[in-house]
């Protein structure tokens, strides 16, 4: 029971951060990953970053999430 998604931190200060999900911004807590900083990729669960991810790992997760969706024109 663990819905979690990768997200990138676009703001980060004192355990409060803003995570970016393809342009959506959400306020989250970085209390559980105290070394997190702006630009880091994190695994986000119920409003908390629970792990730091490398950018490559995050992109791979997106690739898996969107697996086989080689569909032209997906986007705005």
């Amino acid at each position: 029971m663990c819905l979690a998604v990768p997200a990138r931190l676009v703001e980060c200060r004192d355990n409060a951060a803003v995570a970016d999900l393809h342009g959506n911004r959400v306020n989250i807590s970085t209390l559980l990953v105290p070394t997190a900083k702006i630009g880091d990729w994190v695994l986000l669960h119920a409003g908390f970053a629970i792990q730091l991810l490398s950018e490559q790992e995050a992109q791979e997760t997106f690739a898996v999430m969107n697996d086989l969706r080689a569909v032209a024109g997906e986007g705005p």
Binding site: V5, N24, N66, E74
Partner: protein, 343 residues
Amino acid sequence: MASEQPFTGSKISLAHGGGGQLTDELISQCVLPRLGNSILSDLLDSAILPLLAAGEKPTLTIDSYVVQPLFFPGGDIGRLCVSGTVNDLAVCGARPLGIALSLILTEGLPKSTLEKVLDSTAATAKEAGVRIVTGDTKVVGHGQGDGIYITTAGIGATACYKLHPDLIEPGDAIIISGNIADHGMAVMLARQLPQVQSAIASDVAPLNQMIASLLQATAGVKFLRDPTRGGLAGVCADLASRTGRHITLEENLIPVDPRTRHVAEMLGADPLDVANEGKVLAVVRPGAVQAALAALQADPHGVNARVIGQVDATGEGVCELHSTLGGRRILLKAYGEQLPRIC
């Protein structure tokens, strides 16, 4: 206690729904400047519409709109109440002739809110090329209602084009006019998660012109539906059940905006179950697919139209999803509202 003051106040009061002078002022100051036309502005008890052309049948639909919040990214209740009703007419092959608009306002609603909603209603009606021809306004007390409820009944004219599930046959293609789940996700975020600064916008739009182009481009369209509440899954499950045909959808062909997909994953929502207010699902004869896609893609609301599945020759009357993994599962209608989950 009904106010005797002229309508200079900034909030709607009970008296505005009383049918007396304050109602008249509300109509003349708020409604007519925005929605007025030769029929509406006559303010008769009924709207008398022009004669239909030979062979056209009057077509009627009705819907109520109780969306919260009233304003959300990409639209509002005003845009929704015109689009939804126009689309219900259009998917039956009807051109919209007029809309009857009923407002139920809550006492204390800021007048400016009503004006904004009516601005949006007017703009959307203009975009769709349809007029609000008659209306009604009631006001309920504080705490009753959610600010604004709108009911719109739409009347249209259907020519000889027949669209019906009974026409659906094995081999027919299932087409969606573009990205799914944007409206429902945008509204869910606006309502339940104000802390999310959403990049998703509702797709709410009147589609009558796009649908008219589609029906002009080809006679091969068997059936149309707009996947509103219940989403794509709901419409397809219903269709399969209703026709007794087996329908297969290809998951890797169903278009979802990455911004929408990412948030849906975060919240545990399934895009297939999420409402759309600016999309149409079309069941089309295989030989007509290219013409159908070209017509849809030529319209700004259909640029991402594509084939997502087909009606099969055998199998029970269910809709199955062929997943990107290569597996299969049955699509059912969702049971309740979509909620953020942890699991």
